[in-house]
Symmetry: C2
Subunit: 98 residues, 2 copies
């Protein structure tokens, strides 16, 4: 299992309608892509990071994750929403031990 | 619930005995501190980050997390192992939505 995560900050003001629309639209777009399991949104609350949100999702294996990355719905979401609306981000992909 | 996470890179060579000792000793030290739930170690495998590991743990609430941060066993671990052995790190604290 691979847990794909990305923490990020948006260009939108905190608690704005644009922020809420981005989160809702992202969930709708990404959970429809084959292989995405257990999609969740978290608030990032540590003052050690400027990122305000995190998306996390699980994939059964590396091949399923690779197929997600190149899926047309993912590519379209990145181009039309992620790039214009996200100010900064950091991906971490985690494989639990033991 | 607050999920505390920290991704990091060690000064030790990959797959060295020193690396394995750090991970094992961290697990032993941190899981003994009151309030730490569901401690897990993951390999960080995204090429988008130089960090090679992540620790994650859950706390029931902000007060329990704050008590962990100031617990003498945590402070001692940071001083004697974390600072000298960790090259870089990033904390993220996550509160799941919904």
């Amino acid at each position: 299992m691979i847990q794909h995560t990305v923490s990020f900050a948006l260009r939108h003001p905190a608690d704005s309608p644009e922020e809420q629309a981005f989160l809702a639209d992202a969930a709708a777009a990404l959970t429809g892509i084959p292989g995405v399991e257990n999609f969740r949104i978290s608030d990032q609350v540590s003052p050690q990071s400027a990122h305000r949100f995190q998306f996390a999702m699980d994939f059964a294996d590396a091949e399923t994750y690779a197929a997600y990355n190149t899926h047309p719905d993912h590519v379209a979401f990145v181009q039309t929403r992620w790039v214009p609306e996200v100010e900064s981000f950091q991906e971490l992909d985690l494989v639990p031990r033991g």
